[in-house]
Assembly symmetry: C2
DNA sequence: ATAAATTTTTAGACTAATCTAAATTTTATT
DNA sequence: AATAAAATTTAGATTAGTCTAAAAATTTAT
């Protein structure tokens, strides 16, 4: 249907659009795809010809309905496979990305249906990211960054912003898990670092940088 | 490491060599790969440069040790995935091939280790084909074609030669399964067709063509 | 053993995806 | 509003894999 490369561009465009803007730039895509702007322009022409993106020279890029549907399907597959690897194959949440990146391109509707069923229709992946359903419907999370809360707020950890192994391993080491209760004990005005109590037991100091990358909802 | 295309050539060469000959021809590979001889020649040069095949112009092709190891690893992955699809995802044995053909190229040692463990280290795939172990060791089957046996021989079905959905569905419909006992009741000299009793219950007439494609061992 | 047939390889071209360098357009700055 | 800076696109090359048509080597047949 579409090449791996096309799928990867579509996914990159989707993810860039997710962060708010109406359209995104050639350079932004080039950076995300770790390629050069000239290569991106070529691909944009191709995707526009296939009606997967809205694209006019120099005017930025957005996805068509068709393109968005493809993006959501790839993300669905990626997140289901991540869940599978963690739940069934003893992968850690910091180990799944590269393999899921490959598995997300496997073409088989039956495979994905069975995968979803096998996992008992999970709503989120191991990082707390929502899994689009078979129709491409995606639950919007109401989570906010822990850094936006104040002293004495009690929250539940629901996800992460940064998905890098380094950050995920840091969370593992300090014992953070999705679903944990986090109470903000104190806040340092100078560097916005926080003192928090996790699961009513463990007290930690975390930097503003860490707090920004932890997603929570108010309890 | 190696491209999907390279892996597919290596696998095709391995399978052609399996059927006996010391070396195989450019045309044979072209037919198997559904491509043209000229394309094959180009790829042979590339694989020879990577020392995966032994190749001298006009002199046929064989695999080097390195090439054979790669082939066995791809076959290992293919067969483990087939087993997984049938055992865990409700695929029929005639439905697995295309998906396994994609999954066999996924690169992750941990994934394959866990897959093998998850399936409890199976020795054969859903078609009875042996699964190479992690070191590339492959059990050689002593099975022979049912067509080589005589009246009153009692055999156990261990595999199939033809893997086409049409043939596998025919076997399903008539109720053949791996492990079934097959007793040869009668043989028609004219067309070499057989009358057989499966599992001491069901009597069938099968053509020579079908008999040739059923692998068995003497009970 | 020579000619004919077949197989295989080479030559040259094509597509997809990429790149560098140059040209063009847009945006920002004075 | 003119110009400088930045972003984007075009032009032309490159690599992997494929193709057709022609050339070369091998095999088969007389």
């Amino acid at each position: 249907m579409h090449s791996f490369t096309e799928e990867n561009y579509i996914k990159a465009i989707y993810k860039l659009l997710e962060s708010g803007d109406e359209t995104i730039s050639t350079n932004a895509i080039a950076e995300k795809m770790r390629t050069k702007a000239a290569s991106v322009t070529d691909m944009l022409k191709k995707l526009a010809a296939k009606k997967l993106i809205n694209y006019q020279k120099y005017q930025g890029v957005s996805l068509t309905g068709k393109g968005e549907k493809i993006a959501l399907n790839i993300i669905r597959k990626h997140r289901l496979w991540e869940m599978f690897l963690v739940e069934k194959f003893n992968f850690k949440w910091d180990e799944v990305h590269d393999v899921a990146e490959q598995l997300e391109h496997i073409q088989s509707d039956k495979l994905i249906e069975e995968l979803d069923k096998f996992l008992n229709y999970p709503k989120t992946d191991p990082h707390g990211d929502p899994i689009p359903d078979a129709k491409g419907k995606l639950l919007v999370r109401k989570s906010k960054s822990l850094s936006q809360f104040r002293v004495n707020d009690v929250c539940i950890m629901t996800g992460v912003v940064d998905h890098s192994p380094a950050f995920l391993q840091y969370l593992d080491k300090t014992g953070f898990q999705l679903g944990n209760e986090i109470k903000i004990k104190d806040s340092v005005e100078f560097d916005k670092s926080l003192q928090i109590i996790v699961s009513k037991k463990n007290t930690f100091f975390i930097s503003y940088d860490v707090a920004k990358n932890i997603l929570v909802i108010l309890k």
